[in-house]
Amino acid sequence: MQTDLIEVINPTADRELKIGKIASRNHGLEAKRIGLLDNSKPNADKFLEYVGQLLKQRYPTIEILPRRKMTRTEADCLQELIGSCDLVVSAFAD
């Protein structure tokens, strides 16, 4: 019965949708500068080092650029990556 019901405001919220555009991936890796961004978590650097070696084996013309961040990806880090790399593989989480 309607009298047995109460109205409650929904405490969850709409999301603010930020719609960014990611770069096209419709290309090969030949001669690309590939940044490997280590998040300083254990083994992240070594994992990316292996990934870099494997990529280099398959695409000898690529240039591997190891990078490291301590915690969050700050704006200056992003700008440096944009300026020096064509593509970036970033390690996340633990």
């Binding site: 109205e7 709409d14 949708l17 930020k18 083994n43 494997l54 398959r58 915690t71």
Partner: protein, 423 residues
Amino acid sequence: MLAKAEAETRGLGNLPLVKVPHPVGSISLVALRALAESSVDLIIGALTRNNRTSFHSEEATADSDSALKASEYVPSNPTLTFKALAERGWTDGLPVIPPTPDAVREMIDASGLKGDELLGVIPPLNGRATVEKVAANAVMAGCLPAFFPLVLSALKAMMQPSFNLTGIQTTTSNVTPLAIVNGPCRQALNVNYSSNVLGQGWRANSTVGRAIRLILTNIGGAVPGVYDKSTLGQPAKYTFCIAENEEENPWEPLHVERGLEKADSAVSMCGCTGVHSIVDMASKTPKGILTTMAAAMAAGGSSNWVYGCECLIIMCPEHAASFSAAGYSKADIRQELFEKARLSFGKFSEENLELIAKRRPRWFQAGETQGIPIVDRAEDIWIVVAGGKGPKSAFIPSWIDVRMSTLPIAHGASSPVAVSCQC
């Protein structure tokens, strides 16, 4: 989930992600190499082909948002009301006050703001924190309307970039926000700053801290086990709000140290990864108490050792009085704790030393022989005086990149209306 949240926060929800099976950090180099070999094709795919491995599309997000109802009808029987709200995932598992339109309106009115005013967006899901949504959560937490300006200021303080709320909301750490209240609103709202200050029993402390948690979960979307990936969590994630015992603080109160006037009401938010009790009922001198405090701080295992982040001492009035009587300033205490609260290299595993050397390289330079300090700078040790009688203080480590964030309580909390709302 952290990668997904970070990408979405930057508006890149369809960024290609390659999921590398957990664990990574603790495995051997041979196993790590095998993991890299099994991942490299996916990584090449993510680098060279469009629309790969995205978690979900923008369209799906828009669809789910359009389905959000502004309000719902639930049974009025208290047991069934709680059941209905819990089933919707809106609670922390404990009973809540139903956020009826009248109750939410009363909460909004206490702020002097409009219900549809947008305060900001809360990570990880960029939930739109309108005054009405925040008010609904404050009602559910059991807040009095007079508490609402304090809740709003706490939320705004957490939204400062230096607070690293995205990290707090999604990490495997047990970090949770701690609200520290200063100024006249402590009396006006009856916020406990004396005996059992970190514990139960005061409506303002209990419900303001709880409102903060409900806001972070319901508006920010940090649902435990989904986006909130804390391995263990901690009891303080239900609620954690205290006030400073300014009356027994021999030094300037925290909010004054943070740049506000003593007559201001304010809230300071900091990160808390646990409460470590410091009992010292024997020492007769500040040197003795400092020795005990430094030993408590120098317990291994906290994030501070890896990141050198801030930390907090909750100093009981009796310890504070001992320091003050001997002429110690807060700066003196900080400096001594900075020098004493260290762990020698031998207290860390080789793997941890390697990790810490990356993040805090200065303590590994030639000539640094005193071990690794709990923080990188003495001023990163915050001192707050709180609690009742007894020689019991506490140490609270913080977490990565979380800087204490202080804001004045903008409106009403010390007004006569608020004074009449003692619980």
